[in-house]
């Protein structure tokens, strides 16, 4: 009897081990969803909480906890990976490739993607035509946000809840000290070209200030104005002349002491310059940058909310933006479409995004309303009407020269070039190290 029992136990153990791999093999096939009965769990993939917070605030009935929302009978769940180093894309890719085998409640339903790599998903079968699930009205959205979410044949695969023209975000008190004025129009006039911007940098230096927090802060302005993509149509790595121009500028700025640091823009060094004690005059970014990523400046004690203002700066550009894409195989198509429609066409929600969250919404009518409203102002920007500025800037946005490889090309170049700026290697070596990194990271890209 004992013998039998131990054999049984041993056999069970082996089965338990083998059983592990069997779970997603398909034993429990998901219930078909075409009869109106949709899934009870909506899985949302994100790399931060920006959109998730809006989803909780403006769409869900109940916020259960940090990772769970409720809307009617449906539970909305968040899966988040950090964006840095491609970790988010990495995890998302694995989930999407397993989508067909995943149980209904495990399937990715809605996922977010950034301008840097959205093309990878729109041009694949992992995303689906949102018009087919009921998102059809794009009349109020900005044209580039639709183009960015469309595949090569013009099929729209997702929508953005924001529009991201970017500006120079400057400290009013420092501008007053350096230029004698903090008025956005006058500050803009003083720095409407790179030559003038450099002159202001020299004046700021003379007064003991830095023009920029880190050399990487201006990177996106240059990378957004390139005339050729990172990877050419025949798969070759290509460093655009404008990227070289950024390298030139960065070397000059380090040499002249116009920059506080050379480090990552998200790092403690650069963000410490946002405090009241910071000596940096200009930061760069769209609405999401100053309302979501400038936490140190928003800090009521250590920051200085109200001491900021925005102007276009030397060159027009846009940065990032978060798109919601519908994952193929979702078991909640109706709710996915409903969320998308809410964030682009629900006037009330879009208005609140502007008035309460200082977003620049993806609804032109709503934005125009706020731009024309003399009583509207952003407290963080000293009651400046940021929407009015962005409405003008949004006209310049062109979504071009994008590839699926942009995120790591952008991150990699900045990281490797920092070594040159720090004096560890010469420029040629820094570029060679960057090329080698791309070669290792993307086997399909040819590097010369």
């Amino acid at each position: 009897m004992k013998k039998l029992l131990s054999i049984l136990l041993a056999v069970l153990m082996v089965f338990a081990l083998v059983g592990c791999s069997n779970n997603n093999g398909g034993g429990e096939t998901p219930a078909p969803t075409d009869e109106g009965g949709e899934g009870s769990v909506l899985n949302v993939w994100t790399w931060n909480t920006e959109f998730w917070d809006f989803l909780g605030k403006y769409y869900a009935d109940e916020v259960v906890d940090e990772y769970t929302l409720k809307k009617g009978d449906v539970t909305i769940k968040r899966t988040t990976y950090p964006s840095d180093g491609g970790a988010y894309q990495d995890a998302l890719d694995a989930a999407l490739l397993n989508q067909a085998n995943a149980a209904a409640d495990e399937k990715v339903d809605l996922f977010l993607a950034e301008a840097d790599y959205i093309i990878k998903y729109t041009n694949s079968d992992a995303t689906m035509d949102v018009k087919s699930i009921g998102v059809t009205d794009f009349s109020n959205t900005y044209k580039y946000t639709v183009e960015a979410a469309s595949d090569a044949n013009g099929v729209v695969k997702g929508v953005s809840f924001q529009c991201c023209p970017a500006a120079v975000i400057y400290r009013r008190s420092i501008a007053k000290d350096v230029l004698g004025t903090d008025d956005p129009a006058e500050v803009q006039a003083a720095m409407d070209s790179w030559d003038k911007f450099n002159d202001v940098a020299a004046q700021a230096k003379a007064k003991g200030y830095y023009m920029i927090p880190t050399t990487n802060a201006t990177y996106r302005i240059f990378s957004n104005n390139t005339t050729s993509p990172w990877v050419t149509a025949d798969g070759k790595l290509n460093i655009d002349a404008n990227i070289e121009a950024w390298m030139d500028q960065s070397e000059d700025y380090v040499k002249n002491g116009y920059t506080a640091y050379t480090s990552n823009i998200w790092g403690d060094e650069a963000t410490s310059e946002m405090f009241k004690t910071g000596k940096t005059m200009c930061f760069f970014g769209p609405a999401w940058y100053f309302n979501f990523s400038m936490g140190n400046a928003q800090d009521p004690e250590k920051g200085c909310p109200g001491d900021w203002a925005i102007c276009q700066g030397p060159q027009a550009w846009f940065w990032g933006g978060t798109w919601m894409l519908a994952a193929t195989g979702t078991d909640n198509p109706t709710m996915v479409a409903d969320i998308m429609n809410t964030f682009i066409n629900n006037e009330e929600v879009c208005s609140k995004l502007v008035s309460e969250d200082a977003q620049f919404s993806n609804n032109q009518a709503v934005n125009a309303k706020f731009a024309a409203d003399a009583s509207y102002g952003n407290a963080f920007l000293g009651d400046q009407n940021d929407t009015a500025v962005f409405v003008e800037l949004a006209k310049n946005i062109k979504f071009q020269n994008v590839t699926a490889y942009d995120q790591l090309c952008n991150e990699g170049l900045q990281t490797y070039f920092q070594e040159c700026l720090d004096g560890n290697v010469d420029r040629e070596t820094a570029i060679a190290n960057f090329k080698d990194y791309i070669k290792t990271t993307f086997p399909s890209v040819t590097v010369e």
Partner: protein, 311 residues
């Protein structure tokens, strides 16, 4: 009848129970270690990666991946040689002080003449850093030594530096920090292993040596060290294998880039780069196999040389 039954009982083979009891280990080993190892070797002969969401391959390419590993890169060197050199160097600067300090502590703690009080407390304390996850430890150092971190604030406020020092941007400091972290994490572990080894040595040998008037140095080199050799070899080889697989500390401290100028990129970080977004199983497999061969050669070399010296 009674007798026959007895004989039958005696003929029962208990050997199979032995096999059954050790079976779980072999089953788990086969599934979670042996099978993935063989798969790695197999994959190293294939072109097999992802381009976006498209899976390329697997396509048999023979030794092509291995050849690629030895190609010159854009900066004009063979990356794998540089990274192997980095790995060994980073291990050495952490392991050397680790062995010296651990040996000293082990001698102090086991010495009957010193008879240190509160040994349990010290042993716990020196082992403590090993309990922290390496990546968390590394993250802590990353925050401590950043240009706006506490160390720089301390240096500036005490007047020892006029400007923040870019600890995480210079080769000397980055490598030293990695060495320091590995040292801090592992010297406690080594101390305890060496102590166990020293305690296993017959106390009477030490006593008779002392009676014969030998100095502490003589005792150490002629009694302790030779008799400790088997344990020391074990500690040395495990440390070396751990060193060759060094990953989390430099990866987190340098954000995966091995800054500056790839001087802190280790072999496993290089392997990890292949496994990033493109999931290049072919090339990563080739690096793994190469690493396996190097580890095997180094281990047997060390084992043989120390063993033969001993005889």
């Amino acid at each position: 009848m009674e007798k026959k039954k007895n004989i039958q009982k005696k003929s029962i083979s208990y050997a199979k129970w032995g096999y059954i009891f050790i079976a779980p280990f072999f089953i788990i080993y086969a599934i979670f270690t042996l099978y993935p190892q063989l798969l790695t070797v197999y994959n190293s002969f294939f072109e097999y990666y992802r381009d976006g969401l498209t899976v390329i391959g697997p396509r048999f390419v023979g030794f092509e991946n291995y050849k690629t590993l030895f190609n010159l890169n854009s900066a004009g060197y063979v990356p794998i040689f540089k990274f192997l050199g980095n790995t060994i160097w980073l291990w050495v600067i952490g392991a050397l002080p680790q062995f010296v300090i651990a040996m000293m502590l082990a001698l102090f703690f086991t010495s009957t003449r010193l008879n240190i009080k509160g040994q349990q407390f010290f042993k716990t304390v020196i082992y403590m850093p090993n309990l922290i996850m390496a990546s968390a430890f590394s993250m802590l150092f990353f925050a401590l030594f950043s240009q706006v971190g506490p160390i720089n604030q301390l240096l500036i406020s005490s007047g020892m530096a006029s400007q923040p020092i870019n600890f995480l941007g210079m080769q000397v400091t980055v490598q030293s920090l990695i060495g320091l972290m590995n040292f801090l994490m592992w010297f406690g572990n080594t101390t305890i292993l060496l102590m166990a080894g020293i305690q296993g040595i017959d106390e009477s040998l030490f006593e008779s040596a002392r009676l014969d008037g030998s100095t502490s140095t003589q005792v150490f080199f002629n009694i302790t060290m030779p008799l400790l050799m088997p344990i020391f070899i074990y500690v040395f080889i495990t440390s070396m294998i751990g060193g060759i697989q060094m990953f989390d500390v430099p990866q987190v401290l340098t954000n995966g880039y091995g800054i500056p100028d790839n001087t802190s990129t280790t072999m496993i970080m290089y392997l990890n780069n292949f496994l990033g977004i493109s999931k290049n199983y072919g090339m990563a497999g080739a690096v793994s196999v190469l690493l396996f061969i190097i580890t095997a050669i180094l281990s047997s070399f060390v084992f043989k040389s120390i063993n033969s010296n001993n005889k």
